[in-house]
Amino acid sequence: MNPVRFLLRRAVLLVPLLVLVAVFTFSLLRMGGADPSAAMAGPTGSAQEIAMLRSQYGLDRSLPVQFAIWVGHVLQGDFGRSWSTGKPVLSELLSRVPASLELLLLGLCLGCAIGVPVGVYTAFHRGRWADHVARVVSLFGFSIPTYFLGLLMLLVFFATLDWAPPGMGRLSLMLTPPPTVTGSYLLDGLIAGDWEVVYSAAAQMVLPVLSVAIIAAAPIVKQTRAIVLDVLGSDHVRYAYAQGLPGGRVWRIALRSAAVPIITFISGELTGLIGSSSLIEYVFSWSGVGQYGLDAIVRGDFSVVQGYVLMLALFSVVVFLIADLIVLAIEPRARQLA
């Protein structure tokens, strides 16, 4: 299968998916009966002022017309303006993407670095004490509410032990961010050679990244263990054992077979992790896309919520696409099926 053809086919499927997401989000928001014009007008807003705002933001038009106008603008790269900040939604979202990606990807990488080896090890040592310990610990990761985990981390490592900085965002209070290149304070600090910023950004990252990693690692341990166990029980691995191959060779065969389902699972895990990391952003004042989206939902900031959901949908699609490409690269059978 030609990867370019594969990408084109996926891109075609992307269009109806995004349209469905857009229609669904738009309808849900509007069907709630919420009207942000009163909130925009403030506590002293008169009927005349509210009517003026409704007209200004197009809220006085019929829903299909509002939807058509919005889609028309989106196609031109204009996601509208946030009523609460008055700023263009797209630029506001994009300015927050680096912070979210930094948290999400580092958290996931750490989660994978812990979860995959532990899952593999426990599968090969099923029923031993390490397996039992890992299952109990991953159960903790599964059952602890995300918001509570964040607060617990702050309570223990900041308020009690004083080992970590406060959950007050991505940089110490007194520092000025480096010039924006990537949007990540850590990378931008490195590029600018500002070591104070680098240290501060790294320190601020420890607890939120660890929180995301704990949440990510728990299901990865469980699923990796189950996948590897399944592979170990498969005919070709049993055949490999029967052939008398050395343990290391059998491990490699088993891991290669387990790689595809593990990658597929992790890509799904990444999209699911966006919701959890939004709460982590909230607790640690991370100022990312998730926190921005949560605020917009609470405020009824329609344009932002629509842009936020559309961006998440696009992100999920891209993640699955990358996962598919990786699978294509490492699994010859997938190339024939694609």
């Binding site: 709630g32 009966g33 919420a34 009207d35 942000p36 014009s37 009163a38 909130a39 007008a41 403030g42 506590p43 002293t44 807003g45 008169s46 009927a47 005349q48 002022e49 509210i50 009517a51 003026m52 900040t85 008055g86 700023k87 300015s95 927050r96 918001y147 964040g150 607060l151 702050l154 900041f158 308020a159 004083d162 080992w163 970590a164 900085p165 406060p166 959950g167 007050m168 965002g169 991505r170 940089l171 110490s172 209070l173 007194m174 961010p177 240290y199 501060s200 790294a202 320190a203 601020q204 909230y282 607790v283 004042s285 100022s287 926190q291 949560l294 605020d295 609470v298 405020r299 009824g300």
Partner: protein, 525 residues
Amino acid sequence: MSVSRRGILGGTAAVVGMGLTSRHAAAQQPKTMVLAASGTPEGFDGDVLRPGTQQTVVQVYEGLTRYGRVEKDGHIELDPTKIEPHLAEKWETSADGKRWVFTLRSGVKSPYGNELSAADVEWGWTKSFAQKRTGNFIANVANVTGVKALSQLEVEFTLSAPSSIFLACLTLYTPSIYDSTEAKKHATADDPWALDWMLTHTAGYGAYHCESVRPGEQANFVANPNYFRGPPFYARVIYRAVPSPASRITLLRSGVAQWIDRPNMQQIIDLRSDKRVKVEGRPGRAMMSVRMNSTIKPFDDVRVRQAFNCGIEQGKLVQSILLGTGDDAKSVLPPIVADYDPSFFEYGFDPAKGKALLAEAGYPNGLSTELIFSDVSWWEEQVAVQVADQLKSIGVTVTPRHITATEMNARGAPARQDMPFFTYEDGPIVLDPIYTLALLADSKGVSNRCQYANPKLDALVLQGRTTLDAAVKHDAVEQAQKIWMDDAPWILTCYPQLFEAMGPGISGWVAYPDERVRWVDLRSA
């Protein structure tokens, strides 16, 4: 690759060190206050109240006048009966009260070095007239129709009718007095009032000035070096976005933050017993009201509204919801406003009277209704549940129903007012009885929200607004309170106190009617 024990210890120490640096970084800076707020300000235009706007524009823009101050129980309170000169040095009025000329204080400078002039006052008011938002509302309430600079330091206000609340309205932060010389530099043909620039910049003559904003992260404020009342105690205020209330409290307790956005009542109760934190309270100005729409059945019958008031035990609400810290509500006016008169309150908990009134109104077997509440104010759900429980005493079955804050604001807005029975909190930002009545009780009041209308009350409000005779105004306020109480458009519950939580060394907090702290008042031990 192996990781040595020394490496692990070194790494841990580095993170620990970084943690300590961050924890104490702000404290090491002289006279810096860290304020943990739910978000950064989304704009600095007092006419457009976006999240965080009101909290910060009051630090930057100050009025021509200000309330007097009195010492009470060891702290300073505003005296609404006295209006003092502030940015204005003095004023004169015509015999008919329709023309006022203010002489501005000379030598008042903005952080940009420009001197306050009458043209600044004219520019700010003209901006508010043009925008038709909050400042325009204040202008209308105060009967102001025009503002004109007469000379460098003299500015003339023209009123459509005399106004008893005009001088009190001039204490407000809007219509704001801008350094128009600076603001005009950022105006364009499409944006003549520099509104885009004002999303992230300030230009006032007040105590503070916005130095920088990182949206969603942090805003830095510095003291205006030219502030006419001398430098504030805090030279710098770091306004940090911490959206999680629990995280804000952790930061206050740890000493990293010295001030936080107002916590809810349960958090206040918890914090009061914590020695690492100081909690202060002042009388509140906004009632936890339950409103009845007088144009929708069964609330179009005054006897039903009165009956509902007879089914409520205010003391129980104070104890169970405010944990004993609030005051019973006995008037549409809060107790902190002049001419507040509780003597017209004739309800109290009297189920027999309530049942009799319902029977008279045609509901001998009681009635059922829905009580709508939202999350606009922290107490709404608790009040809805308590009121539903208490009204069983008069044979009324109430089903509380939750709606979103956005829907509540939309449905309570002047254009709709279509909720039959609902919770809401409104309070005056001008400490004046006529302003309060015009806002909450007048049929055209923007915070009426329940379509309550009584022409006699409207006439009294108009009379009170347009007289300069204190006795006439007092009489109008008295009569209006009685009419409102007889008509009973709200269930009167209680007034929560206004609490603030701060670092243990902080003093000087003064409560303002807009419930926003002025950083210029604060000191630290």
